[in-house]
């Protein structure tokens, strides 16, 4: 991403997707700092958006898979500075807009006043901060300079209707609909979860991507009937951990035949 609005670039990438849009989450520096750039390129070639996860010691919204990838990345010495430097070198060669997904504290300690310039130099279009609700987001919104980098708002099944209106209106780039109560990586979506996604879609002006627990072609197909696409995280990390090709896995989620 170069100049202009990160939010607009994110929205455009979702809208340009032929089938359900695919946003791929990868933990920065996982499985190793050396192997990561290649994984990033492969994932960016197969997905419409890439979320680069900033590892944190206490990822309270994450299940075991992403907890473990966070620990591995931290042990390998991954820091937010390292991520900015890497993305600065890589982003011009990547085919999908980049977002950073991370808990608030590392961004806060990096310094909100220099966050916008760090994101700009590394070509990051937007941020997802799972422990930063709308009520606490004013300092980071001001720091991001409106219209430049997107702050993607998450909505949950427990979000009541008036709040859903506020959150979808405040979001930028897309609306991240958490499929189900729970942490990342859980399986089994039930019909209630799908009703919730339909509600989010009706409330949102922006595209809606559903995340948490999405891991199969069948789920992608079911969810894509209701919203504009999906976020895939834990399942992709497991593929990377298993040494398989992440690009092929992502293409299979979107384009393959849905088994009966």
């Amino acid at each position: 991403m170069s100049e202009g609005s990160g939010a607009a670039a994110i929205t455009a990438a979702i809208e340009a997707s032929a089938g359900p849009a695919l946003c791929a989450y990868v933990t920065a520096g996982f499985p190793s700092r050396q192997a990561f750039p290649e994984i990033l390129r492969s994932v960016a070639a197969a997905a419409d958006l890439v979320e680069v996860g900033v590892p944190f010691t206490d990822p309270m919204a994450d299940g075991l898979t992403i907890q473990a990838s966070n620990r591995a990345a931290l042990s390998a010495g991954v820091t937010l500075e390292w991520i900015f430097d890497l993305l600065e070198a890589e982003h011009r060669h990547l085919e999908a807009p980049l977002l950073l997904m991370g808990y608030y504290n590392p961004f806060l300690i990096h310094g909100l006043e220099r966050l916008a310039s760090s994101l700009a130099r590394s070509g990051v279009a937007g941020l997802i901060v799972p422990d930063l609700p709308l009520e606490e987001s004013e300092p980071i919104r001001e720091a991001l300079a409106p219209g430049s980098r997107a702050l993607v708002q998450m909505v949950a099944p427990t979000t009541p209707p008036p709040r859903l209106q506020r959150l979808t209106a405040a979001s930028a780039g897309f609306v991240y609909a958490v499929t189900t109560t729970g942490v990342t990586g859980q399986v089994d979506l039930d019909p209630g979860d799908l009703d919730h996604l339909a509600r989010v879609k009706r409330a949102a002006r922006l595209p809606v991507l559903a995340g948490f627990g999405i891991r199969s072609r069948r789920q992608v197909a079911a969810v894509a009937r209701l919203v504009d696409g999906v976020v895939v995280g834990s399942a992709l990390i497991e593929v990377i951990e298993g040494g398989e090709d992440p690009g092929e896995f992502l293409r299979g989620l979107r384009n393959g035949e849905v088994p009966a």
Binding site: F56, T57, D58, P59, M60, A61, G63, L64, Q67, L74, T79, L80, E81, Y103, Y104, N105, P106, F107, L108, I109, H110, P130, D131, L132, P133, E135, E136, Q153, M154, V155, A156, P157, T158, T159, P160, R163, L167, V178, T181, G182, V183, Q186
Partner: protein, 405 residues
């Protein structure tokens, strides 16, 4: 001019929940969206209940008949004489289950029942909050699950067994640092998975709003009783001393004397082994402001905002953060915070046990060691120490510690 956040001592003395859960720049509500409505509702209902005469009467009855309140204020004549001060111990060790934690657990368990919760989850470090929660959950007839770090479970084995006997399911946390911090992470995850049916019974004045206010409100009984008792025994103290991990027993004691300008408030953090570069748990003395477990507060973290490993011989103090209200009290200069080492705490524990026939918890022994140091500077002073719990749980550590401390 009105201020949108509690920034002054007068705001704090008011006692209601601070607007937006802010204690000056500290506090707030940094949680996944899944929990936001649950926390907003918890704040609304707990404010209602804690102003409701029927609920307050029920709570007072449970504190009297189940917890055993009021707890005594014991004049510690021998130890006071040795230290050159008039020393009084606020005996939270005599509460049912052996520590102040039950004041909060009983209050929140009653709230959980009123909210229609189907089960209670909680974290525990030393095991005292876990035992208190297990007891309170049994009392109100709700199932409960306690998350405990595997390291803590090893060093506090008797409490593990007590929780199970009280009917709790105990889940050992092998992730992260395997102590209190990892247990909180895991309790949060269990809560996020079932936010409507589950009540998260947080054990200290930490976490997202309204917990720092709610837990403080339920622990204020310590300070209210202590003030009345020490005045009856001859007058206000010069200093009130308590240990600070998350900071619930200390805030409870301090609240009783907050408006008494002449009473110094002294919080004692865990200095660990005390060597240069050794891990410790002194967030107020040596931490920097950040966000963990739902609140902005002083944290022990590295230059990249990652939380560092902490150490204290007292598991209940072994935590990298601290309650946001303490951070504001520190900034306002109303309370002062020092740290003592594992060794100083152990010495104070042995002195108190031998001189007074009272075996304090390792956590409470930090407060005693801080009081001893204060006494060295203020001969003839009048001192109230929050004796937050009893040391029976620490026997294994004490037997082991004798070799290398």
């Amino acid at each position: 001019m009105t201020t949108p956040i509690a920034t002054s001592l007068r705001d704090l003395i008011e006692g209601g929940p601070p607007p937006a859960g802010r204690f000056g720049p500290y506090g707030g509500r940094y949680v996944p969206e899944t929990l936001m409505e649950i926390l907003i509702e918890l704040e609304r209902r707990s404010v209602e209940l804690l102003a409701d005469e029927g609920f307050l009467a029920e709570l007072a009855g449970e504190l009297r008949d189940f917890v055993g309140r009021p707890t005594p204020l014991t004049a510690a004549g021998s130890l006071g004489e040795a230290w050159g001060v008039a020393l009084f111990l606020k005996r939270e060790d005599l509460c049912h289950t052996g520590a102040h934690k039950i004041n909060n657990a009983v209050g929140q368990a009653l709230i959980a029942r009123r909210l229609g919760a189907k089960r209670i989850v909680a974290e525990t470090g030393a095991g005292q909050h876990g035992v208190a929660t297990a007891a309170a959950a049994a009392r109100v007839g709700l199932p409960c699950t306690i998350f405990m770090g595997a390291v803590d479970a090893r060093r506090q084995a008797p409490n593990l067994e007590r929780m199970r006997l009280l009917g709790a399911e105990v889940r050992l946390v092998e992730a992260g640092d395997q102590t209190l911090r990892a247990a909180i992470d895991e309790a949060f995850r269990a809560w996020v998975a079932d936010p409507v049916g589950t009540y998260y019974l947080l054990g200290s004045v930490v976490g997202p709003h309204p917990y720092p206010w709610l837990v403080r409100r339920l622990q204020t009984v310590i300070g209210e009783e202590a003030r009345e008792q020490v005045v009856r025994a001859g007058g206000l103290p010069d200093v009130a001393v308590a240990c600070v991990g998350g900071g619930s027993n200390s805030i409870g004691l301090f609240r009783g004397f907050l408006a008494d300008e002449g009473v110094e408030l002294l919080g004692i953090e865990a200095g660990g082994r005390g060597g240069e570069g050794d891990p410790h748990s002194a967030s107020l003395a040596r931490g920097t402001t950040g966000v963990l477990h739902g609140a902005m507060t002083p944290l022990l973290q590295d230059a990249h905002g990652q939380i560092v490993e902490t150490h204290s011989i007292a598991p209940g103090l072994d935590y990298p953060g601290v309650g946001p209200e303490h951070a504001l009290l520190r900034d306002l200069g109303r309370a002062r915070y020092e740290s003592v080492t594992d060794r100083e705490a152990l010495e104070a524990l042995r002195e108190c046990s031998a001189a007074e026939g009272i075996l304090p918890a390792l956590e409470s022994a930090h407060a005693l060691a801080g009081a001893k140091r204060w006494a060295g500077r203020n001969r003839g002073g009048r001192v109230v120490v929050g004796l937050s719990g009893r040391g029976d749980k620490d026997l294994a550590v004490l037997a082991d510690g004798a070799h290398h401390v």
